[in-house]
Amino acid sequence: MIGHTGSGKSTLIQHLNGLLHATAGDILYDGESIYAEGYSLRKLRSQVGLVFQYPEHQLFEATVLDDVMFGPKNLGLSVEEQKERAITALGQVGIEESLFDASPFELSGGQKRRVAIAGVLAMQPKVLILDEPTAGLDPQGKKEILGEIAKLQKEQQITVVFVTHCMEDVAEYADLILVMNHGKVAFYDTPARVFAHKEELKDLGLDVPQVTLVMQELHEIGLPVSADVITLKQAKDQILRVFAANASSRDEEVACDA
């Protein structure tokens, strides 16, 4: 999910686990209205995990490990299970064992972010919603965490919704992009189709990945590359292909002349 600041992303996702109640309209989870009488929001929240924006503000336990065990504890799991899940989750976000006993307040900004994400992963939700999970993470941390989440999504068939301002991450990981603008859905489509609207996105305060930008420009000045490239790998293949094809067509010319 992308959109300019204030476009309604955080507000929308807080509806998805029932934290905010819609003024009008309905939300179905697994085909059931979450506003139906007797519907258990508690159960919904154990399945729909939400990592808030700036989640580091919500670290409150004495140690990193305790903090991540908090969610599983609330699910009523045994202490062993709590611990096991917490350790797994901390591993997934790349927090080293030496930090398990540290106070969350002794961590750097990016380390806090990772611990907060681990707290939700430890709940093993079916739907994982992350509000700007990678803001403030270093590039490798970003790759690690998004990579882990993508792995969870594939292996355990969970659904992931993530809010981000980084178009490169969207291109790399998302099946679909939802673009919010002033509280409405502006686009909801595949990354390639959404990023084709370079100018409209710019008007919405957004952007396209750098490779998309250069490939569109190369396309416009007449290079035979397609304009819907969104990842580095696609761009690389296309450019190599173009130069190889150009070379081989000249080979043919030379052959004819001869």
């Binding site: 270093d138 941390g141 957004l206 750098q210 000045i221 173009v242």
Partner: protein, 311 residues
């Protein structure tokens, strides 16, 4: 010749962590023997993975922390000397990541005037400074607005104006764009560059966005509390492999150019921006159309690699 803005010599900083009262506190070394100089008027970028010591370093410049050993001189003043505290904070202003934590007043212009008022600047001078700094970040139009109605990027620009109203010689920005959308990021970076160019303010920008670094005069890369790499953006970003080793990245087009070069396309090292990339590819394209078939690249080689890949 002007004095350097910041001089750091063998700086070490240890966080002291006490688990319980009676034990000797543990030491955690966050800055490990850093020596560097920032010249007046430079635009400096600091990169590094999470926990590498960037914020700790920034806090030293602003005297939120003091060296465990070594020295740090800001604008000719030693941060270890108690009496320099206020003059140093006026010399080097700080902007943090989260715009919401930095704005105190309920009206933009009052927020910007808060700092100067606090240090007893006369009222008419305060208003002059407020006006000047709001206009230098392009926010004068919003002076009567309430900060909480502004976008993240606008709030950050107000925070920068608040620092500018103190007439600092140097601003230190610790991930000022981490929470902003692309338009907000561009605004903030453009604002900072303009302050650097037009008002000769020394800028120290800490960021994880590699494309923000390409404008810097000099880049320092921190790793485990040390300076692992330094140089111009082009010098630093030419070392793609080394940067990856320490968990960092290069701008996406720099990486693309690097990979194409590895495949045999004759591109220069250290392409930094989409414009540079497009120009280089365009040049290559034109020359490949004109030149004899074999001169542009090792085609056979390239083609065989491509056919392998396409299987």
């Amino acid at each position: 010749m002007k004095n350097p803005m910041i001089q750091v010599k063998n700086l070490i900083y240890d966080y002291l962590i006490s688990k319980n009262e009676d034990e000797e506190p543990e030491r955690h070394r966050a800055i490990d023997d850093v020596t560097l100089t920032v010249e007046t008027g430079d635009f400096i970028a600091i990169l590094g993975h999470n926990g590498s010591g960037k914020s700790t370093f920034a806090k030293q410049i602003n005297v939120l922390l003091k060296p465990t050993s070594g020295t740090l001189i800001v604008g000719g003043m030693d941060t270890a000397d108690e009496k320099n505290l206020l003059p140093i904070r006026q010399t080097a202003g700080m902007v943090f990541q989260n715009p919401d934590n930095q704005i105190i007043a309920t009206i933009v212009e009052e927020d910007v005037g808060f700092g100067p008022e606090n240090i007893g600047v006369p009222t008419d001078e305060i208003w002059k400074r407020v006006e000047k700094s709001l206009s230098s970040v392009g926010m004068l139009h919003y002076r009567k607005h309430s900060p909480n109605r502004l976008s993240g990027g606008q709030k950050q620009r107000v925070a920068i104006a608040g620092v500018m109203a103190m007439k600092p010689d140097c601003i230190v920005l610790d991930e000022p764009t981490a929470m902003l959308d692309p338009a907000g990021r561009k605004d903030v970076i453009a604002t900072v560059r303009e302050l650097n160019e037009k008002e000769n303010v020394t800028v120290i920008l800490i960021t994880h966005y590699m494309d923000e670094v390409v404008f810097a005069d000099k880049v320092f890369v921190m790793d485990a509390g040390r300076i692992a790499l330094q140089g111009t953006p082009r010098e630093v970003f030419s070392q793609v492999e080394k940067l990856k080793e320490i968990g960092l990245d290069v701008p996406q087009v720099t990486e693309l150019a690097h990979e194409l070069k590895e495949e045999g396309l004759p591109l220069p090292d250290g392409i930094l921006t989409p414009e540079e990339f497009r120009e280089e590819i365009e040049k290559l394209w034109q020359s490949s159309a004109e030149m004899s078939p074999t001169s542009i690249l090792k085609e056979a080689d390239l083609k065989s690699r491509l056919s392998i890949r396409s299987i």
